[in-house]
């Protein structure tokens, strides 16, 4: 019996050639899609869910992504997230109706954006509240906490933002890297302390970036699913960088330093976006004290980048490259943030930065374990390493007190 059936089976296989198998597979692929299409068609034509229609109006959602204040008044970029296209029927500023213009006019489809401009004589330094009234009478409030003119693209503005970015991004990393010659003579214990300190500061940045990313994500339109987007972006950037860095084995020396610089650079991009955005929104008066705080806060980043290359002697230009890689994105972030701010992009940049930082934390930990062949993972619990971790986290936390408002 068994033998017979086996022969039959072989025959069947022989009869169906590769072409025919492809067709059958295609059919199996199309069948579920066809069922989906039929279900959608039935849903629309027969409306079987009519009994769920209790007369409630469609769900509406409006998010203001950008606010521009200039001579002409207010301009808002609004994103609709309703279950149906939404119509902005009226607009209030400070509980008074104002004329407004919407471009493009008409209903705003789910996920689409439109510019709304109001010739409102806003008052410098004071608060205003914009209320958008839809055709169903629903209202959406947008608070302008402090009215200041929105920065425009001029070479002077770009230059001053670049200077600011250099002060909070590039300068501290460069200063940190300047400790390199002094640290070169470090013994094994000091080495471990410095690497652990790097881990500590990176751990601080990891938590800081991710929490800030979630905060910004919460301000973005629901359609972006901010918190999910942030978490997935962080995991994706972590896995991507792990994959890329492992093509040539475990990174060490200059490669590891470069990954640390990249992680810090991505973090600084997100920070730059957030600072630039806050500056444009008038919510942050950037005093000298605040800028100095940021500079001090970021100095350890340079030391962290220098730690893995203490025992190699890279050419001088690599230091400039590392400083630019880690600090330069702050300038770019500042430019984009103050000129084209939207919370979801800052959230995304910070989340990608968090993933990149997690990658270097893992790599530095592995580097530490393998740097001391005899002890392996117990190195991680040695006194210099624990002290370094505490010093890194502690320094970052204390200097952050200078800049958190």
């Amino acid at each position: 019996m068994n033998q017979h059936s086996q022969i039959q089976n072989t025959e069947t296989v022989a009869e169906t050639g590769p072409a025919e198998r492809g067709r059958i597979n295609l059919l199996f692929l199309l069948a579920p899609l066809a069922v989906l299409a039929l279900a959608i068609a039935w849903l629309y034509s027969a409306n079987p869910l009519a009994s769920f229609n209790n007369g409630a109006p469609p769900v509406e959602s409006l998010t203001v992504e950008r606010t521009i204040l200039d001579q002409g008044g207010l301009r808002l970029l609004v994103r609709a997230g309703g279950s149906e296209p939404m119509r902005i029927a009226q607009l209030q500023v400070d509980a008074a109706y104002w004329e407004f213009e919407q471009v493009p006019a008409g209903p705003i489809a789910r996920g689409d954006t439109a510019w709304v401009s109001v010739p409102f004589p806003w008052v410098l330094g004071e608060a205003h509240r914009v209320t958008l009234v839809t055709n169903t009478g629903a209202t959406f409030d947008h608070e302008i906490a402090v009215a200041v003119p929105t920065p425009v693209v001029t070479s002077a503005n770009l230059f001053s933002q670049a200077v600011l970015g250099a002060f909070v991004g590039i300068l501290p990393v460069a200063i940190g890297l300047m400790f390199y010659p002094a640290l070169r003579s470090a013994g094994a214990a000091t080495m471990n302390f410095l690497l652990a300190m790097t881990m500590g500061l990176l751990a601080f940045l990891l938590v800081d970036s991710f929490v800030e990313s979630l905060e910004l994500a919460a301000q973005s339109a629901a359609i972006f699913q901010g918190p999910v987007m942030a978490t997935l972006a962080a995991m994706a950037s972590f896995l991507l960088l792990m994959g890329v860095s492992r093509r040539k084995g475990r990174p060490a020396g200059l490669a590891l330093a470069t990954y640390i610089a990249l992680g810090i650079g991505l973090h600084n991009l997100g920070e730059g976006l957030a600072i630039g955005g806050a500056f444009a929104a008038g919510s942050a008066g950037l005093g000298t004290f605040l800028v100095m705080g940021f500079t001090l806060h970021n100095i350890t980043e340079g030391i962290g980048i220098a730690a893995p290359i203490l025992k190699v002697r890279p050419p001088l230009w690599t230091f400039a490259g590392l400083a630019l890689l880690a600090g330069g994105p702050a300038v770019v972030g500042m430019w984009i943030g103050s000129l084209a701010y939207a919370p979801q992009w800052s959230a995304l940049a910070l989340a990608v930065g968090a993933g990149a930082i997690l990658q270097v934390v893992v790599e530095v930990a592995l580097f530490l374990m393998h740097s001391d062949d005899r002890r392996g993972s117990s190195t991680l619990l040695s006194a210099p390493v624990l002290a370094g971790l505490a010093a890194g986290v502690g320094f970052m936390y204390l200097t952050a007190m200078l800049v958190k408002i």
């Binding site: 400070d94 509980a95 008074a96 409102f120 008052v123 004071e126 608060a127 509240r129």
Partner: protein, 312 residues
């Protein structure tokens, strides 16, 4: 309780006690037809003022003070108000009175941009206790930033022969009027957070000013208050006098009281009136007055009359 400390009146450039009796009578000349022409000069300007001890408010003012000058004229006179806008936003003066549409102080009729000048001209009528305020948009902000003031038109005794004595007692400059202790009071409030809710309430801008420095009142002379409510964001304000009752002339356009023997009146925004009372039969001492919304009272709108036999 009460706000802590004192306001620097000198820095503000105005003193709430002096403001009570500081009437702007303008300058007087005679027109070719023999009528009196009274000219006022008013300038709008931005000014940071201290509205409560240590609390600064970026005000928009008329003549650098909040409330603006208490303009006073006589029924039937020709009035000319030369208005200059030295502020940073468009402004106007909208008078509660009788005038042509061109003189109304709304957009298109006497609303001027910074650096411009406009002359409002009309007859002083009807007699009463009125007000003026800026009518630029957004209206609520222009009013609550401080752009308002009293505008009093005294009755002309010659036009009211039946009650000439009453009219004369209201006409500033007559011996009958000199008998009265007249006070200019503007009930106002300030929203220091710009969220549509007031943080400070007052009579004449400075929270609790007359509680800390009571208003001296001579016991044997009658008191007349020209009162206007310009409070923004709250629907009404009120005036309550302790231990005494008063006669009330709503809008001041009558020579007989519209309410007799009351100790409380309410006013919506821009409502105003004249209060007349006397402490003749009282013993000297401190007599309180305040809004009878307890919230306003404790947020600054409370004061004291210090009734004395002789002014020290």
């Amino acid at each position: 309780m009460i706000t802590v400390g004192d306001v620097d009146n000198e820095r503000n450039g105005f003193d709430p006690t002096a403001m009570l009796t500081d009437w702007d009578m303008g300058t007087v000349s005679t027109l070719p037809d023999g009528r009196t022409l009274r000219t006022f000069e008013v300038a709008a300007e931005d000014k940071e003022i201290e509205i409560a001890p240590g609390v600064m408010f970026p005000a928009w003012t008329f003549n650098g003070r909040v409330p603006g000058p208490a303009l006073r004229a006589k029924e039937g006179e020709r009035l000319r108000i030369v208005f200059r806008n030295n502020g940073s936003h468009p402004h106007s003066m909208h008078f509660h009175g009788i005038h042509a549409a061109r003189m109304d102080g709304i957009p298109g009729a006497g609303l001027i941009n910074p650096g411009e000048e406009f002359v409002y001209e009309f007859d002083a009528k009807p007699f009463g206790c009125h007000l003026y305020h800026c009518h630029a948009l957004p209206l609520a902000r222009h009013i609550h930033k401080g752009m308002y003031g009293l505008f009093v038109i005294d009755p002309d005794p010659a036009r009211h022969p039946d009650q000439a004595n009453v009219a004369r007692s209201r006409l500033r400059g007559t011996p009958e009027n000199a008998e009265w202790q007249e006070l200019a009071m503007v009930m106002n409030a300030f929203d220091t957070t710009f969220d549509g809710e007031n943080e400070f309430y007052a009579c004449n801008t400075i929270a609790h000013c007359y509680a800390k420095k009571p208003i001296k009142i001579l016991r044997d002379r009658p008191v007349r208050i020209y009162l206007v409510n310009v409070t923004e964001f709250d629907p009404i304000n009120s005036f309550h006098l302790h231990a005494n009752f008063f006669d009330y002339f709503d809008q001041g356009t009558t020579l007989t009281p519209t309410s007799k023997t009351v100790d409380l009146i309410v006013q919506c925004q821009a409502q105003r009136g004249i209060l007349e009372f006397s402490f003749k039969d009282h013993e000297p001492g401190l007599y309180m007055f305040h809004a009878h919304q307890s919230e306003f009272t404790e947020l600054g709108w409370m004061g004291m009359f210090d009734v004395v036999e002789v002014l020290s």
